[in-house]
């Protein structure tokens, strides 16, 4: 149905994944830079919980390749890869994570609460609760007579939350242009998929909502790209929602500081990293050589470090203004 990605697109997919990974590596570094002595979660330039998405880049890259910034994406507590793949401004995103006045939310939101009207991007720290607002964005797009779509993301753990069910039913009932994405990284914090979900695939649940459901087993960006292409095309054509589940990989801990003692597969994890795999694929296809890969990486590093620098140099919000923006007039609470 969807054409396989052309050569340019394949390199683009790679570029997106590298950018996302580079960002996560920088966050990892900055996050841990000043938590010591010991580890104090509230300390440092980037305090609080930090959920990084390393290993899950194929999902974001493959899906967002079909979107423009007129389309909406609602992501999860683990939002960076989707934000980046969807084209969010890196500087303002980094600044938000550093809690600066120049951030997407002027430092009020933080890494789980990134809102970008320019790309119709948002995320939420409450699992599965990003699905319902995506319906509303899709509803508004449909109503305006456009072919814009909304992508809604959850993890496999979140797919057992009530909001999942309600959202799929309503989207199907009203034929809303939504693509539901489930990132199955095998874990909901320390709880393995088999202890949370009674079926091996959320794709089988799609039938209960009269929508196509696909599961991609191997965390391969091009397989995601193909499935997402079908789903986005269907949504743009006015044929309603679809569900895509990707069996992906949580390369690191649930959040930073997670010792992962519960994770028996931990040895095996680095070998499953999708990034070198895809690099190899593109090399074998003659689309990338060592220099080319290095250039992609260098470009990503430059962008990310620029964003980090921007963030660090940006002013912190004025504590006297902590009460502003509770209401739409921007005034104090």
């Amino acid at each position: 149905m969807t054409a396989p990605p052309d050569d340019g697109t394949r390199v683009e997919l790679y570029r997106t994944m590298v950018l996302a990974r580079t960002f996560e590596e920088a966050m990892l570094r900055e996050y841990h830079a000043d938590k010591g002595p010991g580890f104090d979660i509230g300390k440092g330039l980037v305090p609080g919980e930090m959920h990084l998405a390393a290993g899950q880049e194929p999902v974001a890259a493959g899906v967002c390749a079909h979107l423009t910034t007129d389309d909406a994406v609602t992501a999860t507590h683990r939002p960076h890869h989707f934000a980046i793949a969807h084209g969010i401004d890196l500087r303002r995103m980094a600044a938000e994570i550093f809690g600066r006045e120049t951030g997407l939310g002027r430092g009020r939101g933080g890494h789980m609460h990134l809102f970008d009207p320019a790309t119709h991007f948002s995320c939420s720290g409450i699992i599965a609760e990003g699905y319902p607002p995506a319906l509303g964005q899709a509803f508004a797009f449909q109503r305006k007579g456009t072919d814009r779509v909304a992508v809604a993301v959850t993890g496999e753990g979140a797919a057992n939350q009530g909001a999942f069910h309600e959202s799929l039913n309503l989207a199907a009932l009203w034929r809303l242009p939504v693509v539901f994405v489930v990132e199955d990284n095998d874990w909901g914090i320390s709880v393995p998929r088999a202890s949370s979900t009674c079926v091996p695939s959320n794709a089988v649940r799609a039938a209960g909502y009269d929508m196509p459901g696909e599961r991609i087993e191997d965390n391969a960006v091009e397989a995601v790209y193909a499935a997402a292409g079908r789903a986005v095309a269907r949504a743009r054509a006015g044929d309603g929602p679809s569900l895509i589940e990707v069996h992906t990989l949580r390369l690191w801990g649930h959040f930073e500081g997670d010792a992962q003692a519960y994770r028996k597969d931990i040895e095996d994890v680095p070998g499953r990293d999708p990034l070198p795999t895809y690099e190899r694929t593109l090399r074998e296809a003659g689309l990338l050589d060592e220099a080319g890969a290095a250039a992609v990486k260098a470009e990503a590093v430059e962008k990310v470090e620029d964003a980090v620098r921007f963030a660090k140099e940006s002013p912190a919000p004025d504590p006297a203004e902590a009460g502003r923006y509770v209401f739409a007039d921007g005034g104090p609470a």
Binding site: H113, F115, E129, A134, G136, A163
Partner: protein, 340 residues
């Protein structure tokens, strides 16, 4: 409005719908969503006639999926629509509060003011007709405690229309709580004050300004919604005994018109708070603290709080009436406070 502006006698329910219709007429982006808001016209007549007038693309029945359709309202508001979304009974907030308080109410703040959620959440509140513990609550204290949403609680037809228009035009989320007992529904006991003359033209009542429903000098009764009617009835009765009661209708809990409370208490020196929500950790305490934040010396007598005494609303009529702030309890409280 000019002096010749036309008016009609409307029930509170009709006045509310009138406000919605006026805004739907004026602004294409206003839509109505909820359970039974279409053909049924709202279980409590909160959308009667709107389907016929504006059609099924703007007045939309939803599945019983409050999380999904309230969330849908939020996303639609973010993209520029102005949805009015009905939660049939406030008692059902527990199935969908996350969308309401963690999303609708926080997005403005979390986005540093970059995203607006111009949405109205309408919901029916209140008891008095034996609907039991899960269908009779007010819960405005619960909503008002959580930041980021305005909370509006009209008591009469004029305010119902004016506050509704203000709510729809507000760029912040507004929770609009209508008490079943003030609506003037034909199938429920009602106070005569639930029908009144209302201007036909659109008009606004500002959100955050209390109304002195009755001026008086001996004691201040601060209250909202149906209890305003009861308080006024009691005040009329006590006036014949020379007790001059001031009744303050807050009209909204967020923002709370603290000035109005202070002005009145400064005048009377005596305070009774009447609240159909639960007693503890709610409206009544907040009203009291509004005074003591400034000057406890304003209070010349102990304060009386007439509220539901931390008991689920009972079903049996006599039990329910024992816990509700009925006129008898209000009267007794006023007498105790003025020493009459």
């Amino acid at each position: 409005m000019t002096a010749t502006a036309s008016r009609h006698r409307l029930t509170t329910a009709k006045a509310m719908v009138d406000g919605i219709a006026a805004e739907m007429e004026r602004d294409e982006s206003v839509i109505v969503l909820g359970e039974d808001v279409g053909a049924y016209g709202g279980i409590f007549s909160s959308s009667t006639g709107l389907l016929d007038r504006f059609g099924a693309t703007r007045v939309i029945d939803t599945p019983i999926s409050e999380t999904a359709f309230i969330g849908l309202g939020i996303g639609a508001a973010v993209e520029g629509l102005r949805p009015i979304v009905e939660l049939m009974f406030v008692d059902f907030f527990g199935v969908c509060m996350d969308q309401i308080y963690n999303h609708m109410a926080k997005i403005s703040y979390e986005s540093g003011g970059n995203v607006k959620v111009p949405m109205v959440l309408t919901t029916a509140v209140g008891g008095g007709y034996s609907d039991g513990a899960q269908h009779s609550q007010c819960l405005w204290g619960t909503f008002a405690h959580l930041p980021g949403m305005k909370v509006v609680v009209p008591s009469n037809p004029y305010d119902a229309k004016g506050l509704m228009i203000s709510a729809i035009r507000d760029d912040s989320p507004v929770v609009y709580m209508f008490h079943k007992g003030v609506l003037g529904l034909p199938w429920m006991a009602k106070n005569p004050r639930s029908v009144d003359e209302v201007p036909d033209e659109p008009f606004t009542v500002p959100i955050g300004k209390a109304r002195v429903a009755r001026a008086g000098s001996d004691v201040t009764v601060v209250t909202v919604s149906l209890s305003v009617h009861h308080a006024l009835d009691v005040a009329d009765r006590l006036a014949t005994e020379g007790v001059d009661v001031e009744v303050l209708d807050l009209r909204s809990l967020v923002p709370l018109d603290r000035e109005a409370i202070l002005t009145s208490v400064a005048k009377t020196g005596r305070l009774v708070v009447v609240d159909e929500d639960y007693l503890s950790y709610g409206l009544s305490g907040e009203v009291v603290a509004t005074v003591t934040d400034v000057d406890p010396g304003l209070l010349r007598a102990k304060v009386a709080r007439v509220a539901v005494p931390d008991v689920p609303i009972p079903y049996a009529h006599a039990l329910e009436y024992a816990v509700l702030p009925r006129p008898e309890r209000i009267e007794a409280a006023i007498r105790a406070v003025v020493g009459a």
